[in-house]
Structure formats: structure tokens, C-alpha cells
């Protein structure tokens, strides 16, 4: 049986950062990716944090940055546009190349990156996960991979957490159904992202326009599947594109689901740990997950380094990761999960009221990032009925 210090399932940003960090410390790392190629297919809106934030994890390479974001435009259901100047707030990535660069960084650090290889089961010792059963899809062979610690970075559809008894299936109300087109059009914004709100546009979610290289953009939306009756997310996107970009040429379609829940109570078990969207670390309001996955991976790596050094991979030891994560990002995610329940259930006229107030704030205010708590306060102030909605949801 093959033995290693850590086996990581999933070659996305979270898995690759854990792999490179642990490999740099001298541990033996095997990273499994079920797909034939890292980063393909993309299932992401591709907008994320700033160059500065990303560069803490990997040196910036212009080949995977397609656009800089310097402003955001919120478009209310009634058409009011609230624009906010946000210099260098983020970038739009080429996710395939970005993921490949991160996995390359892991490989260069000494991790053994294996594509075409899927984890099809857990190896269970006495009350402890001891690795995975891996299947090489090229040869069709299944083999045992024994590891001191198993890391599930296998995304929202991952099974490591479910097999280990850490996670369960998601309720229908806890997931966004999302779809996106890569479009080519003359009338696209440059260096400004656009977010469209409204029940008719994207029930329980929002639509986005994320500019990429000149003339191209990711145009997509996410919906709450409990709020769309017989329609699909695609029906809403087709309508949106028809209305806003009637002459656009659609080059590609990507789809997926993102979790919209509060943080897991625990992300660990004996000999096993989850990271990234497998651990529901994405923002439940925006659906964004890249920066959170990188930060989650950083916290996981710190605890894993100590666990592997001391040889203590027990649930009790790994739980430090839970508290580290909660303090760094998890508490904010709890708030975003509550806001999701509130904001996405607002009627269009209520959203219009909020937009009117926000418009005032953005005209008078300084260039600060969008503060969702501020939006919430404004919402309650402008539409007293919302207090009842909030009360029913939050308490």
C-alpha cells in the first residue's frame, strides 16, 4: 500500500495552497484531481479580491489576470444605478490558468499532483480516517492511498465530508443554482462590475456582469431554487441577456451550485479535514469563494503542519482549525448567511427604496468597500415592514 503524510482531494485553489504549504515544510503530499486537467472546466464567475490579497498566496502573473476592477455598479429593479468607485478592489481571473498556476506552485514545492485520479472511498482505521481509495481513470485501476491525514478540498459536490460524517447533503434552500455565459459584445463595461437585483431578474439571488478582456464578459446569475417554480436558472439568464445584451455573441456556458449556508459546526474529524467550498467557506450572500478558500487553506495548513509534526491528527487537535477559521472569516459568514435570507426575500419596491438611500450614501460617502451591514441597516430604516421580516428570520 502506498503511504504518504497527507492526501489532498481536489486540485482547486484550496487544495493547491494546502499542498504547496505542506510540501514546502518537507511533508510528503499527494494531490488528487479527478479531472484530466487542473482548472478545466471552469465553474466560477472569476471575479475576486485585489492583486495585493492574491499576491499573499502566489506571485501575480498577468497571464491569469484578465481585468482590474475599479468600480461596482448596483442596478436596482426599477433601474436606479448606484455606482461606487472602488480603486483596485479586485480582479477578474482566468480561473483555468489561475488554478493551473496554483497547482504548479504545489508541484514545484514538491507535491505529487495526480490528475485523472478520483477518490472513490475512505480508508477507515479504528475511529480514524487513514487515507482514500483512489481510482486512476486512465488505467481504470483502483488503489489504496494510506495517509496520516486526509484533506477534502473537493468542492461543493465533494464526498469526503459526507463519507467522514462531517457534512450532509445540502437542503434545496441552502444552495444557489447558477449559470453564466461568456459573451462578446460592444457595449460592455470596462473595469466596472455590474450587479443586478430583483425578483424578476434572479429570484433569491442576483445577476452579474464581470468584464474580462476587451469586448468580453462573464454574464451570469444565481437563483434560489425554492423561489423559481418551474423555471430554471438558464431561463432567467436567457431573458436577462436578451434584455441587456441583445446583440451579444455567446461563446461558452458554465454552471454550478454554490452553498448559501452558515459555517459548518466543525470541518474536521479524526484524521480528516475539509477546506474551501467543501467546508462551505464561500460567502453565502455573494457566492464568492476564491479568497475565502485561500484563507481557509492558510489556516488549515497552519494546524496541519503542527498536527503532522507532533503526529496528533485527532479531531480534538484539528479543531483548532475550526476556531481559527471562525475568528478570521466564519463569524462574518454567519452574518452574510442571515443577510442572504433577508435581502433575497425583499420585494422589488423594497430593493428600490434601499437603492435610493444607497445612492445618497455613495454620492456623499468616501470610497469605502460596500458594507452589507450598512445595507441592512438602511433596509430596515427605509422600509419598516422589513423589521418584521427580519424578526421572523433572525429570531
Amino acid at each position: 500500500m502506498e503511504k504518504t503524510d497527507a492526501v489532498i482531494i481536489g486540485g482547486g485553489p484550496a487544495g493547491s495552497i494546502v499542498a504547496s504549504t505542506l510540501a514546502k515544510k518537507g511533508f510528503e503530499i499527494i494531490l488528487l484531481e479527478k479531472r484530466p486537467q487542473i482548472g478545466v472546466p471552469v465553474r466560477c464567475g472569476e471575479a475576486t479580491g485585489s492583486r495585493e490579497e492574491i499576491s499573499r498566496f502566489i506571485p501575480i502573473d498577468e497571464t491569469w489576470i484578465l481585468a482590474d476592477i475599479n468600480a461596482a455598479r448596483l442596478i436596482a429593479p426599477g433601474g436606479r444605478i448606484v455606482e461606487k468607485h472602488l480603486p483596485s478592489v479586485g480582479v477578474v481571473l482566468d480561473r483555468s490558468r489561475f488554478d493551473q498556476a496554483l497547482a504548479g506552485q504545489a508541484a514545484n514545492s514538491g507535491a505529487d499532483v495526480r490528475v485523472h485520479t478520483e477518490a472513490v472511498g475512505l480508508l477507515r482505521g479504528k475511529n480514524c480516517v487513514e487515507g482514500v481509495l483512489a481510482r486512476d481513470h486512465r488505467t481504470g485501476k483502483t488503489y489504496e492511498l494510506n495517509a496520516k491525514v486526509t484533506i477534502g478540498a473537493d468542492g461543493i459536490e465533494g464526498f469526503i465530508g459526507r463519507w467522514a460524517g462531517i457534512t450532509r447533503h445540502l437542503k434545496l434552500s441552502a444552495i444557489h443554482s447558477a449559470i453564466q455565459y461568456l459573451i462578446e459584445d460592444d457595449g460592455l463595461p470596462r473595469d466596472t462590475i455590474e450587479l443586478y437585483a430583483g425578483r424578476k431578474i434572479a429570484p433569491g439571488g442576483y445577476a452579474w456582469v464581470f468584464p474580462k478582456q476587451k469586448g468580453f464578459a462573464n454574464v451570469g446569475l444565481g437563483v434560489d431554487p425554492t423561489m423559481i417554480e418551474e423555471n430554471t436558472a438558464k431561463d432567467f439568464l436567457d431573458r436577462f441577456v436578451e434584455q441587456h445584451f441583445p446583440n451579444a455573441k455567446i461563446h461558452a456556458t458554465v454552471a454550478g451550485g454554490t452553498s448559501g449556508t452558515k459555517p459548518l459546526k466543525t470541518m474536521v474529524g479524526n484524521g480528516v479535514l475539509l477546506v474551501g467550498e467543501a467546508a462551505h467557506q464561500n460567502n453565502p450572500l455573494s457566492g464568492g469563494g476564491i479568497m475565502n478558500a485561500l484563507e481557509g487553506a492558510e489556516e488549515a495548513s497552519k494546524v496541519l503542519t503542527e498536527a503532522l509534526t507532533t503526529g496528533d491528527v485527532s479531531c480534538r487537535f484539528l479543531e483548532q482549525y475550526d476556531s481559527r477559521w471562525k475568528n478570521r472569516v466564519g463569524h462574518a459568514i454567519t452574518k452574510f448567511a442571515l443577510l442572504r435570507k433577508l435581502i433575497y426575500r425583499l420585494e422589488d419596491h423594497e430593493l428600490d427604496n434601499i437603492a435610493a438611500v444607497l445612492d445618497g450614501i455613495s454620492r456623499n460617502g468616501e470610497d469605502k468597500p460596500i458594507d452589507y451591514a450598512e445595507i441592512f441597516k438602511t433596509a430596515v430604516k427605509t422600509a419598516p415592514g422589513l423589521i418584521w421580516k427580519a424578526k421572523n428570520l433572525l429570531w
Binding site: 479527478k34 479531472r35 484530466p36 465553474r43 434545496l172 431554487p225 436558472a233 438558464k234 458554465v254 451550485g257
Partner: protein, 77 residues
């Protein structure tokens, strides 16, 4: 009719419209039996596990999941 078999046992009626399915992985997370798995390239249904609960149909962004006509109790011939 895709099957002439008649049976009292609940059989999985879920099918994938391969023209529409993007293997996007929105459905496996909501499947409470673990019947849906995005393997190396394509979405797979484990027909042994599926209990026709239809949650996956609601979450699918492209409408690629649907129930085929039931074949139970259909008179043959």
C-alpha cells in the same frame, strides 16, 4: 417506451438530458441518498440509490434532469 419490464419495486425514473447537462455539479450536493456523482468527466446516476425525490430536478440550472415515464404496471404488448 424504454423498458418493457414491469415491477413492483420502486425504480429510479431520473434521467439526464445529455444535450443540456453541463456536468456542473449543482445537483450532487442536494442529493440526500448520494445517488448523483460527478465522476471524472460526466454526471452519473446510481440508480440503486435514487429514490425519485426530485430535488435535483429543481436545482439543475439548465433543466437537464427529468423523470422518464414510469414503466410500472403498464400493460405489455
Amino acid at each position: 417506451m424504454e423498458s418493457k419490464k414491469s415491477s413492483l419495486v420502486t425504480t429510479c425514473r431520473l434521467t439526464i438530458d445529455l444535450e443540456k447537462c453541463l456536468s456542473c455539479a449543482a445537483c450532487p450536493p442536494v442529493c440526500h441518498t448520494g445517488a448523483l456523482n460527478l465522476s471524472s468527466l460526466l454526471l452519473e446516476i446510481n440508480k440503486e440509490l435514487c429514490d425519485n425525490c426530485s430535488i435535483c430536478i429543481k436545482v439543475c440550472p439548465t433543466g437537464a434532469l427529468l423523470f422518464s415515464e414510469t414503466t410500472n404496471f403498464k400493460p405489455q404488448g
